[in-house]
């Protein structure tokens, strides 16, 4: 690594009270709002330089929306997101372009995330072209070939189209595109969920190697808990638009405080049948409530085994405080 920027003391990514509501509308010409999907409802977290923050939770809890909103891909309802102390929601023009160069994203679906009518050269060269990082087409091509080799692809395949590659290879192309502008921060939006298990390991190892090589910072969104434990330094658990618990990886996996985290972890398969039989699962009843009309008080209370057991009226009435239960271990639960 060359010298770090002076801002190295503060976290690279700071998210404060991020809210993203999607309106539900009706009507043909004059659309009126009939409701709000509270996809992300006020979350805050920071990511240190070189760190990987994992974000887990079941489908529809707002993980993907968080990642996309903090990059400014969806207009936020309120809140702030700072990358290297620059507010991405306030930035315009050249400043916004500069943040876009530094913060990139890798998508879940390797089939939908590459333009089917562009060659690999066009796809990976796009950030170079948009940010004027190379002066001529020949120099861009040279750089694209370097990037292809960097992610473990054959540089001779530069003029091929996405449909000529396998899923894992396409995901590598997506990674090369994200790396092209030499970013410092990458949102990995379930980058391995759409891949075969054998390919998952390759892609995760590639992401780890690249992190070591370039000192990258990741927000790693996933629902594969064992993979998150493998790659992440800290883990945040999301439920219905809120972060319910956040702690260091080992602390969270060994000592989950929030009943939702406990249920989530107990649902992860254990690769040893003997241990698996002895293992006590917490089975949650019911479905995730609608984010249009979330439950009062603690959002988890209608499904929470602890709330049922202890009959604490606060669970139904008061939204739990986000507090540091023990050093570096935060949770939002009345009973934890």
């Amino acid at each position: 690594m060359t010298s770090l920027p002076p801002a190295a003391k503060t976290p690279l990514v700071q998210v404060e009270n991020l809210v993203k509501h999607f309106p539900v509308t009706q009507g043909l010409v004059l659309q009126r709002k009939v409701g709000m999907i509270r996809a992300v409802d006020g979350i805050s977290f920071t990511i240190e330089r070189g760190e990987t923050l994992g974000m887990v939770g079941e489908s529809g809890c707002g993980k993907t929306t968080t990642g996309r909103t903090l990059l400014g891909l969806y207009p936020p309802t309120s809140g702030r997101a700072l990358i290297e102390e620059q507010d991405i929601f306030q930035a315009k023009g050249a400043q916004l372009l500069n943040i876009r160069r530094k913060a990139q994203i890798i998508f879940q679906d390797p089939y939908a995330s590459l333009n089917p009518r562009w060659t690999v050269n066009d796809i990976i060269g796009e950030p170079l072209r948009v940010h004027h990082l190379r002066s001529s087409a020949a120099e861009r091509t040279e750089r694209v070939q370097e990037l292809l080799q960097l992610v473990g692809l054959n540089a001779q395949h530069i003029n091929r189209f996405p449909h000529e590659f396998s899923g894992g290879q396409r995901q590598r192309i997506g990674i090369a595109r994200a790396l092209a502008s030499q970013p410092v921060f990458i949102v990995c939006d379930e980058p391995i969920s759409a891949l075969d298990v054998s390919i998952q390991a390759q892609v995760v190892n590639l992401l780890e190697d690249l992190q070591d090589q370039f000192g990258l910072t990741y927000l790693f969104i996933a629902h594969d808990l064992s993979m998150v434990r493998h790659i992440c330094d800290r883990v945040a658990v999301m439920y219905l638009g809120l972060i319910v618990e956040m702690a260091d990886r080992n602390e969270l996996y060994e000592n989950p405080l929030h009943p939702y985290s406990q249920a989530l972890l107990s649902a992860a398969p254990i690769p040893d049948p003997k241990k698996s039989r002895a293992h006590q699962r917490t089975i949650l009843s019911g479905d995730v409530p609608s984010p249009i009309n979330p439950p009062s008080g603690c959002r988890f209370h209608p499904r929470c085994p602890l709330a049922e057991q202890r009959k604490n009226p606060a669970c139904r009435e008061v939204a739990p405080e986000w507090r540091e239960v023990c050093s570096g271990h935060w949770a939002a639960c009345h009973e934890a």
């Binding site: 690594m1 060359t2 043909l28 010409v29 004059l30 659309q31 996309r68 990059l71 891909l73 916004l96 372009l97 876009r100 160069r101 913060a103 990139q104 994203i105 998508f107 879940q108 679906d109 939908a112 995330s113 590459l114 333009n115 089917p116 009518r117 796009e126 950030p127 948009v130 940010h131 370097e146 990037l147 080799q149 960097l150 992610v151 473990g152 692809l153 054959n154 001779q156 091929r160 189209f161 449909h163 000529e164 290879q169 997506g174 595109r177 790396l179 502008s181 030499q182 410092v184 590639l206 190697d209 690249l210 090589q213 370039f214 000192g215």
Partner: protein, 319 residues
């Protein structure tokens, strides 16, 4: 940030595959699919013949000859002198179909171009930006679709027609009514295309690669022109091809009603109009040749459009 090329990468390389033949490009695949469509190939060849007929014929007969009337030679059947016979004022029908064909081709191409420009602009704006703009534009489009096109054409032809100065285009002088016909055909046929383009934009803009382009900071005009438009090219090309056939038919229709391009400029449509009063007198050559040419052109263009629809669809895997 350090330079990733400074040190040799520690990342394991995947083995290079040694394919003997390079895989086919999108263009090659498209051509292979098109080639299988025999009727489309026939249409393409037929169109070449018709263009050669209309523009090659120019070298053999002059326009003065096509517009020259000789009252002593009225309604003569095909002979060695006049291969397709002569019309009601003694003009040579072969020469008139040649120059009429040029008009049909010009009208077909330019009216379809106008249709594509309007349809793509309105559809793209509505589909990309959505919201209020989308509602406004689509309600306008539907309002236009609610009025029968033929009715619109007749009213507009009547309203804008009349005596117009002649215009010179590509070394040939045309009746001013030609421009009016092109404009009104173009202006009344775009709504259907606009809806197709809008639906394409609506679906393509939700793809992750559009989000990736935004995350890169690609400007909006590049997202529209480099990302979305090339991906919606198939239905646009097909609609444009069929638009050519449609414009030729419509020109024939309004010329037949006497509202189109004014004689002496020949078009296949106004030649049919001239034949109208003589059909029951057995003068088949008056309508047969221009009618046959319209039929052949429209049929060929439609076959071509069908072939293109199958060939350009990337989801059809048949090679």
């Amino acid at each position: 940030m350090n330079n990733p090329t400074a040190s040799p990468s520690p990342i394991v390389q995947l083995a290079a595959d040694d394919l003997q033949t390079p895989p086919l490009s999108l263009r090659q695949l498209t051509w292979r699919r098109f080639r299988r469509h025999k009727m489309a190939l026939f249409g393409l060849a037929m169109l070449f013949v018709l263009v050669a007929y209309s523009y090659g014929g120019m070298l053999l007969v002059s326009e003065e000859y096509a517009n020259h009337n000789d009252t002593k030679l009225r309604i003569k059947p095909p002979s060695n002198e006049h291969l397709f016979g002569t019309d009601t004022v003694g003009r040579d029908i072969l020469a008139r179909t040649i120059y009429g064909g040029q008009i049909s081709i010009v009208i077909g191409l330019t009216a379809a171009l106008l249709e594509v420009l309007m349809g793509v602009t309105i559809g793209a704006l509505a589909g990309y930006y959505g919201g209020f703009l989308d509602s406004l534009m689509m309600r306008f489009t539907e309002a236009i679709l609610n009025i029968p096109q033929i009715f619109l054409l007749i009213v507009m032809a009547k309203f804008f027609g009349g005596n117009l100065p002649n215009v010179t285009l590509m070394g040939r002088e045309y009746s001013g009514s030609l421009l009016v016909i092109i404009a009104i055909i173009g202006l009344t046929s775009w709504p259907y295309l606009a809806r197709i383009v809008r639906s394409q934009f609506l679906s393509i803009k939700e793809n992750d690669f559009i989000l990736a382009a935004r995350a890169t900071g690609t400007p909006t005009w590049q997202i529209i022109f480099y990302h979305i438009l090339p991906n919606s090219i198939a239905p646009i090309v097909v609609a444009a091809t069929l638009g050519v056939a449609n414009a030729i038919t419509l020109e024939a229709y309004i010329s037949f009603l006497g509202l189109g391009v004014k004689p002496p400029t020949a078009t296949w449509g106004n030649m049919l109009e001239g034949a109208y009063g003589y059909i029951d007198q057995g003068a088949y050559w008056l309508w047969l040749f221009p009618g046959l040419l319209i039929l052949l052109t429209v049929l060929s263009v439609n076959f071509l459009g069908d072939g293109l629809r199958d060939a350009l669809d990337p989801r059809s895997r048949t090679v």
